[in-house]
């Protein structure tokens, strides 16, 4: 990286911080204004990065950076979210199962274990509505969604490359598919810790609700649970297949040119939309279309399906993806120079950066760093030999700590938006961060002592 550019990059991180502050503060102080002007704010902060960047590096490089991030990062990200949002919105559960601490513990445990097999986003979208529905009779329920984000939207995804994109990247770079199952003891340990804390909090809230006279409608003997739109599970599997293909196809010779680059449609300069990504997008959009075409509108109505949540995520994450580029550039340039050599350092550094930045590039930076340390034993990756403990720390840091903030992982904000839209008063950006500080950070400290010393 040129000297002038390196000196300038930290300043270019200001728009990213500015956008995050807007997301954190404006909904609290000017809620309606913020709702009306989200696209404008995202565009304004993006321009505040792109224009100075273009002035220093040239319009061509700025355009390339912008298109690279939009085509290769944002597009696949939002299409996947969109597909899962559509398909899961077409599955509805009705019945009179009453949300209580033990039911909620069961739902969270189920969702967590499901995350690794249908992805954190898939599990979140599939489970969030039933969780909201069963707890509709209660008033104190924001903690349920917060723990849902902790467990289902993040931690649960650590066991397979399908679970979370960083692990898929690791798989593409030589980490065996089932290697991540080694994180099962860490996941179970955290699951037990968090569910114990959750049970206590939920029991307190449940008792307060009962004491206030709230009660579920259980007047009929026997529980009736009806699932409608179950054929959409086929489309869900199609989307998961698309994600797996996007990770495996680039390794096949048919998808590589003579120079070893992934073949694709040239967009601008070096930027191209790879064929594997294109196949993924087409498959996901097809699944979403078929899901809509084959599901009666009454199911979506019952689910209170609206475009509000996906629209909000799509708008805000355009800004987040663009403005976080300088921070990622800084990380790529300096990650190896941070002097990180111990698993606990990898766990915390990867984790803290994944809390605010995209966890996929963060994972790759530290995997590269670990691979360059010259170890002779461990897992052989495209970046070199990485000791098992080190790889566990990087993987767990990237996956687990995405739960620290609303923007740490794709489904977090989506779940928040759906909950907001359905009568649950979710904590603000900082409010959620306080939950993470109070509950997740102590758990991660225990993890460090037990697993990553």
């Amino acid at each position: 990286m040129e000297e002038s550019m390196a000196a300038f990059l930290p300043w270019l991180c200001i728009p990213f911080a500015g956008l995050l502050l807007c997301i954190a503060i404006l909904p609290l102080v000017r809620a309606e204004w913020w709702e009306a002007h989200q696209p404008h704010m995202a565009a304004a902060w993006s321009l505040l990065f792109l224009l100075p960047f273009a002035a220093v590096c040239g319009a061509g490089r700025a355009a390339e950076t912008f298109l690279e991030c939009m085509i290769n990062d944002y597009l696949t990200f939002i299409v996947l979210l969109f597909g899962l949002f559509c398909v899961s919105g077409n599955i509805t559960m009705s019945g009179d199962l009453a949300g209580s601490p033990r039911i909620n513990v069961g739902l969270l445990a189920l969702g967590t274990l499901l995350s690794s097999w249908i992805g954190t986003t898939g599990a979140s979208m599939l489970m969030i509505r039933p969780v909201i529905k069963m707890n509709a009779w209660r008033r104190r329920r924001r903690h349920i969604i917060v723990f849902f984000i902790f467990l289902v939207s993040n931690m649960g995804g650590c066991l397979t490359p399908i679970g979370d994109p960083p692990l898929l990247m690791g798989f593409m770079r030589g980490v065996p598919f089932f290697w991540s199952l080694k994180l099962l003891p860490v996941l179970l340990f955290n699951l037990v810790l968090l569910l114990t804390v959750f049970y206590r909090i939920d029991m307190r809230a449940y008792r307060a609700d009962i004491a206030a006279g709230l009660k579920p409608d259980i007047s009929r003997p026997g529980t009736e649970v009806k699932l409608r739109g179950l054929h959409n599970l086929v489309f869900l599997i199609l989307i998961i297949a698309a994600v797996i293909l996007s990770g495996t196809l680039p390794g096949l010779p048919a998808f590589r040119d003579a120079a070893g680059n992934v073949k694709g449609i040239p967009i601008f300069g070096e930027v191209r939309l790879g064929f594997p990504a294109l196949i993924e997008i087409v498959m996901i959009l097809l699944a979403a279309y078929l899901s809509f075409a084959t599901t009666p509108a009454s199911i979506r109505r019952e689910n209170h399906f609206t475009w509000g949540a996906i629209q909000e995520v799509a708008v805000l994450f355009v800004g987040i993806f663009i403005t976080m580029q300088p921070a990622l550039m800084l990380l790529k340039a300096n990650g190896a120079k941070l002097g990180i050599t111990e698993p606990f350092q990898m766990f915390w550094t990867t984790g803290m950066l994944s809390s605010f930045l995209d966890n996929t590039p963060t994972y790759l930076v530290f995997l590269t760093t670990a691979g360059a340390l010259g170890y002779s034993e461990g897992i052989l990756t495209a970046f070199g030999m990485v000791p098992v403990k080190m790889l566990e720390a990087i993987s767990a840091g990237a996956v687990f700590m995405g739960a620290n903030t609303y923007i740490g992982n794709a489904p977090n904000f989506m779940v928040k938006s759906i909950a907001d839209e359905n009568g649950i008063r979710m904590p603000s950006f900082f409010g959620y961060f306080v939950w993470s500080l109070a509950i997740l950070i102590p758990v991660f400290l225990v993890d460090t002592l037990v697993f990553f010393r």
């Binding site: 809620a31 709702e35 009179d96 199962l97 009453a98 209580s100 033990r102 039911i103 509505r129 909201i132 529905k133 509709a136 009779w137 008792r207 307060a208 009962i210 004491a211 206030a212 006279g213 709230l214 009660k215 579920p216 259980i218 007047s219 003997p221 026997g222 529980t223 109505r301 019952e302 689910n303 209170h304 609206t306 509000g308 907001d420 839209e421 359905n422 009568g423 649950i424 008063r425």
Partner: protein
């Protein structure tokens, strides 16, 4: 111009109606803010609106309704709902910051629990007396005699039996944890160790059936919710005395006028009575039994009401039966409610 209670009530009704209208347009109860009956929700809203700083909570509830309203697809309907939301919000914002009159009276408690019976019970309300008592204080006898003198129904275990019918459950599979009969029977009949043995004999199928029967809730919770429903239904139809079962709190939560009475006696006195009425009970055992029953009932009451069992603040009247005797206590209560 000072704001009248009628205005506040109308405001509360408008808030409830707006929520109902939004729900009607969306057709999904997923996020309905007020999902209980109108009267009760309106009463709660009036309380929130008149008790600052809780008035802020109303704005928060309104914001949730607005979140839902913004997702209405039809532009015209959405506009109408949002206009109504803005109108209500402005009205809420213009409320004074305090309605304090300087009196110590808590309107909610006074309306339901003050011993001003002429004001408390309207012609449409039934006479409902909720009695909590400590084992050995003669509470059951007081309740029974009182019902006899007032010629109204007396309910204790009968509630539990009715709940079994509602739940379509076998009597052996459930314990009446809200009353004393089952507890005392358990303590007298079984060895203490047996009471703590886990129920391991159920097959997987039975467990699934049980899970379905109780809607995923614990048996105790399912019974409590059904008891509450039943008490509220009965309160619409008849006068009665209900023993325990957190009846006082259930009535308060549902805005049903009632009289709550706590009957107790000094511990030593209760031990003597327990020995008298339970053949074969030694003093040592009676001592331990009473301590345990008190602990269990305090825990039960606290779990479902969030209040302390036996705390004078929670009742209209607390009586020491050792001072009046059973008949004297009945006379005393009758005089209090002008039904001698």
């Amino acid at each position: 111009m000072p704001i009248q209670m009628q205005d506040i009530k109308e405001m509360a009704e408008h808030i409830y109606d707006l929520d109902a209208e939004v729900y009607c347009h969306l057709g999904s109860s997923l996020g309905r803010v007020f999902n209980r009956d109108r009267d009760r929700c309106v009463k709660e809203l009036v309380e929130l609106l008149t008790t600052r700083p809780h008035g802020d909570l109303v704005r928060s509830e309104l914001a949730l309704i607005a979140n839902m309203a913004r997702t209405i697809e039809d532009k015209e309907e959405r506009k109408l709902c949002m206009s109504e939301y803005n109108r209500i919000l402005n009205a809420v914002m213009s409320l004074p910051t305090s309605f304090a009159s300087g009196d110590v009276i808590d309107p909610k408690t006074a309306r339901l629990n003050e011993f001003n019976l002429q004001n408390r019970f309207s012609d449409e309300d039934h006479l409902i007396i909720c009695i909590s008592w400590t084992y050995g204080s003669g509470g059951i006898d007081v309740g029974f005699k009182l019902a006899d003198r007032l010629k109204i129904n007396y309910y204790d275990e009968q509630i539990f039996t009715a709940v079994l019918k509602r739940l379509d459950a076998e009597k052996d599979s459930l314990r009446d944890t809200a009353g004393y009969t089952q507890h005392v029977k358990d303590e007298m009949d079984q060895s203490p160790a047996k009471a703590f043995l886990p129920d391991t004999r159920k097959s997987f199928g039975e467990r699934i059936r049980e899970f379905s029967r109780y809607h995923g809730l614990s048996k105790r919770d399912a019974v409590f919710f059904n008891q509450s429903d039943l008490l509220c239904e009965m309160a619409k139809k008849e006068d009665f005395i209900v023993m325990g079962r957190c009846g006082d709190r259930v009535m308060t939560n549902n805005g049903i006028p009632h009289i709550s009475i706590y009957i107790t006696a000094p511990f030593k006195q209760r031990v003597h009575r327990a020995i008298e009425v339970n053949e074969g009970l030694t003093e040592k055992k009676a001592h331990a039994l009473l301590k345990k029953l008190d602990r269990q009932h305090a825990s039960y009451y606290n779990f479902y009401t969030g209040r302390s069992w036996g705390h004078a603040n929670n009742y209209d009247l607390c009586i020491n039966t050792a001072s009046y005797g059973i008949d004297g206590t009945v006379e005393f209560i009758l005089r209090m409610i002008n039904r001698e």
